[in-house]
Symmetry: C3
């Protein structure tokens, strides 16, 4: 089987770029996970996984990551992205992601709600909800990105 | 290299949730693979892979999965998702997925056709087509989900 | 951790199919990586990775791949897909992908520009930009696909 991650970090950032994909790439860089190969996952925090401030991951590594992102080409528009980790007691957690054309506060509220609901749906007591978010006001082509990167 | 899966299971379910992502999460749970980290793949059944009724996979595991899903916020609407495995003789198989705003029968017919065509395109004799499907009538926010999960 | 790829190949092809997903599948087959389980990644060339003309990968293998694709059901329309690898000196590289309703030349120019910008954004000198591209004129349902497949 593929090894199950044992650590995670939460990141979020916004950035501009000359194309949509470059803006996404710039937001990844700004968030600190721009030189990795993100493997998108949906979206469970493995049991016992520990949060760290910063993951030391070699460039090019295959990095399981849950993320939300939004790109906009509307100058002046606010875009936001947020991720939430919902923790219960002594077991796995849930990860939820949100992105939209809204301010950061709304993104935080919505992603927190989603993580709470995901725990409730599983009948798991809510111990803690962690949120990481960003907002970005678009200049030309902007991207807001939030992620939970999983590692070993 | 990454280890190649040797087992698979076919699942499908529909569910409601308070947001689109929660509905998707609920459909995963209802289908029995809700506490995993799905890694989406396109879409070959490895040679010799054996079908099992239920995979015993630890929570949070990175689980290669081919899937189709559709979410709707139109009350009363029927949505369906289906997966098909196309088997030939003594070799790898093909996996196709379908989702749409239709009844289950149509989803089954279309995904079967797709798997047949994928085998024909490869010049592989058709030994068997396995299909798993679901339909869901939306109450508020619903999701139909069908998957082939690969495992070890 | 998941093993980091050490080789890569660049491929591109267009094809027709009886459904959108079959057209995508046909384009993968035409490009030479149709019998694999593609794991989509974003998008860094690991340090020291070597280019090869053709990867010998067993059917069904989990294959980390950066790709762009576009499917069209408009007969006569030109669609194109392209990937670029941006190489710097003695370190990792960047991978960019593009697809659109345009001719191949435009796709090549755009993806080259994106790879250059991705290097510039990182403050990395541009040593070489490699591009692989395809265009396809749609008959009924067509797909253009370009990829950088990573392997071991």
């Amino acid at each position: 089987m593929l090894p199950t991650p044992v650590k995670y970090t939460m990141v979020a950032a916004g950035a501009e770029g000359p194309t949509r994909l470059n803006a996404f790439d710039a937001a990844l860089l700004a968030s600190g996970i721009g030189n990795l190969n993100l493997l998108r996952v949906s979206s469970i925090l493995p049991p016992g996984a520990e949060i760290v401030d910063k993951l030391e991951i070699p460039a090019g590594s295959l990095t399981p990551t849950a993320y939300g992102s939004i790109t906009s080409e509307t100058p002046g528009e606010y875009i936001s992205a947020a991720v939430a980790v919902g923790l219960s007691h002594d077991t796995f957690g849930v990860i939820m992601e949100f992105s939209g054309r809204c301010r950061e506060n709304e993104a935080r509220e919505r992603v927190s709600f989603m993580a709470e609901q995901a725990l409730i749906m599983r009948g798991m007591p809510i111990k803690q909800i962690l949120v990481r978010s960003t907002e970005h006001q678009v200049k030309q082509i902007g991207c807001a990105f939030a992620a939970v990167a999983l590692w070993y």
